[in-house]
């Protein structure tokens, strides 16, 4: 299911995150890249170099917006000013779909700048879904929500994470940005079977997939985006592709960023799974 209504019926291949250390290489070598993912917040500004650089990228490449601070899971209403700036950027990039996280991060006007986990309750699902709908209606672009890595669970949770994700996307009628590395990280931190998670999500709603590296500590696993993707995550990705079909995939590498070629080569490892014979609906 490469093209669906949650990714604007596009058929994007393998993308990488647009990061400052790679600008010089991109402008000088003009490498062939299927698409770039940008962090929306880095460009929700009024002017200056970031927007000038983005405009140059847009002349040559396809761009998809990925947000980190819409905070659909916050109990408080969406920030109107945030939405206004985001809409201006959507018009600029013409992103075919837009993603942000299934998390919260601000309360009473104070921002954590983190992707904090939501308790898996029906109340939270209802609030989250209503905010996703509101954002989509205002922004006029399909939205897909991303499962986050988490390190804490709540006493008040009433369902498993994948059940909560399903509850939200069904209520909001939105897409899923399936982060297989996040599923792996959370499965280590919360002792669940990542394949049960993958088998439970509605494949027809997956608009995009994220892959990334992480770090393992003695007592927990941290989503650091500073390593290549490890084999167990590739296996999960393989399973996801077999179940869902070839889907737009992006490698996240945000810290200790190696050369452009190294990041791109790591991302393109996904091609072997995407181009393998697919048995949809496993």
């Amino acid at each position: 299911m490469p093209a669906n209504r949650f990714n604007g019926f596009t058929d994007y291949g393998i993308g990488i995150g647009l990061r400052i250390p790679h600008y010089a290489h991109i402008f000088e070598k003009k490498p062939v890249v299927d698409w770039f993912e940008i962090i929306s917040e880095n460009y929700m500004i009024d002017g200056g170099r970031p927007l000038a650089t983005l405009d140059l990228i847009l002349e040559r490449y396809r761009v998809v917006q990925h947000g980190v601070s819409m905070y659909f899971g916050s109990a408080e209403p969406l920030n109107r000013e945030h939405l206004r700036r985001l809409k201006a950027l959507v018009k600029r990039t013409k992103t075919p779909w837009l993603t942000d996280h299934l998390c919260w991060g601000s309360v009473d006007g104070a921002y954590s700048h983190d992707l904090l986990p939501v308790p898996y309750t029906f109340e939270a699902a209802k609030i989250t879904a209503s905010k996703v709908r509101e954002a989509r209606d205002y922004l006029e672009v399909p939205i897909a929500v991303e499962n986050v890595s988490s390190y804490a669970e709540f006493h008040c949770s009433e369902m498993a994470e994948w059940e909560f994700l399903n509850e939200v996307v069904e209520r909001a009628d939105c897409g899923i940005l399936l982060d297989v590395n996040n599923i792996y990280v959370s499965s280590k931190n919360h002792n669940f079977d990542p394949y049960e998670y993958l088998n439970s999500i509605p494949g027809e709603r997956v608009a995009q997939i994220h892959i990334a590296g992480h770090s393992t500590f003695t007592k927990f696993t941290l989503d650091t985006h500073d390593h290549p993707v490890i084999d167990p995550v590739w296996k999960l990705y393989d399973h996801a592709i077999r179940r869902i079909g070839p889907t737009a995939t992006l490698l996240e590498w945000d810290d200790r960023i190696p050369s452009f070629d190294e990041v791109h080569a790591e991302a393109r490892k996904a091609e072997q799974y995407i181009h393998a014979p697919v048995a949809v609906g496993l």
């Binding site: 009024d46 002017g47 954590s112």
Partner: protein
């Protein structure tokens, strides 16, 4: 527990300052054991207690905001020294947590906060804010604002055909005009150069450079300067300007027509009318080259505080 209440309690715990050894505090701000507070909403697992699970978020929050402030105010860090800057950052961020989706606005309240808390501006300045510290904070915040504030359409030669005393021109919104008591621009440029070399120099060279920087801060002499922090080809620059030019540009920004703005600029000036004419020619030529003038109507009028 309702969602809003849970998020308030969790945010309070996450954003409470860490201990000196960067661990989560043992007690909440109202004196409750943190262990008990957190165990009421976070579940432990077979490896971590409730408080240890939340500590992952708390440490991540504090490291992120402290790093961000450090990146934005390298000059202030050089003026205060590493330890005092860290102490200031923790106190400031504890009082003024981020109120914006972008970390770029983290320092927006720093100057006002320092005016109320001058004891954090280095030893010996407990009663009033050290002007050197204040000037560096102003410059570094102006730098952040100049970097990505909006640029209006530049007034071109065709727009200036009607240039006369009643002509109104605006000043580009990204330009920040500063009247400072210390030449902190030079110091900030030096700090930038030192930080660019940081990745390539050996430890011995870095130590020497750090000593040089400390000496430079100590030797900095009071000197009234006027500065335009502006952007050209997407790069931020500091341009020293004359007191009269500073007055004139501020008057233009406030919406005064050019004739009146010139009078305002030269109000207390001792320059002769010949000198004045020559200065104006030079300034207008420079402003045109740098694209500083824009139509006045769309420009938000801002009073610049000294």
């Amino acid at each position: 527990m309702m969602l809003l209440e849970l998020q308030r309690r969790m945010a309070k715990a996450v954003m409470q300052p860490l201990t000196g050894s960067d661990r989560i505090a043992l007690k909440t701000r109202d004196g409750r054991p943190m262990r008990i507070e957190i165990s009421e909403f976070i579940r432990p697992n077979d490896r971590l207690t409730s408080i240890e699970r939340l500590e992952i978020y708390s440490r991540s929050y504090w490291f992120r905001v402290l790093d961000s402030l450090c990146d934005d105010f390298p000059g202030l860090r050089a003026v205060l020294g590493k330890r005092a800057f860290h102490r200031l950052s923790r106190a400031y961020l504890s009082d003024c947590p981020s109120q914006s989706f972008t970390l770029g606005n983290l320092g927006s309240r720093l100057e006002r906060w320092l005016q109320r808390n001058p004891e954090y501006a280095g030893s010996g300045h407990a009663l009033a804010l050290d002007p050197l510290v204040r000037d560096m904070v102003r410059l570094e915040w102006a730098h952040i604002e100049a970097f990505d504030s909006v640029a209006e359409k530049v007034l071109g030669p065709e727009d200036l055909l009607e240039l006369g005393p009643s002509f109104r021109a605006g000043l580009q919104p990204y330009i920040r005009l500063l009247a400072l008591e210390y030449p902190v621009d030079e110091l900030r440029i030096h700090v930038n150069q030192a930080s660019e070399e940081h990745g390539t120099a050996s430890n011995a060279v870095l130590k020497q450079k750090h000593r040089n920087l400390t000496r430079r801060v100590r030797r900095l002499k009071r000197e009234r300067i006027y500065l335009a922090v502006h952007r050209f080809n997407s790069m931020v620059y500091y341009r020293r300007i004359a007191a009269e030019e500073y007055g004139l540009l501020n008057a233009l920004r406030e919406g005064q027509p050019i004739g009146m703005a010139i009078q305002t600029g030269f109000k207390n000036s001792s320059v002769t009318s010949d000198e004045q004419r020559s200065m104006l020619e030079k300034w207008f030529a420079a402003w045109a080259e740098l694209g500083w003038l824009c139509p006045p109507a769309r420009v938000k009028i801002e009073k610049v505080t000294e």
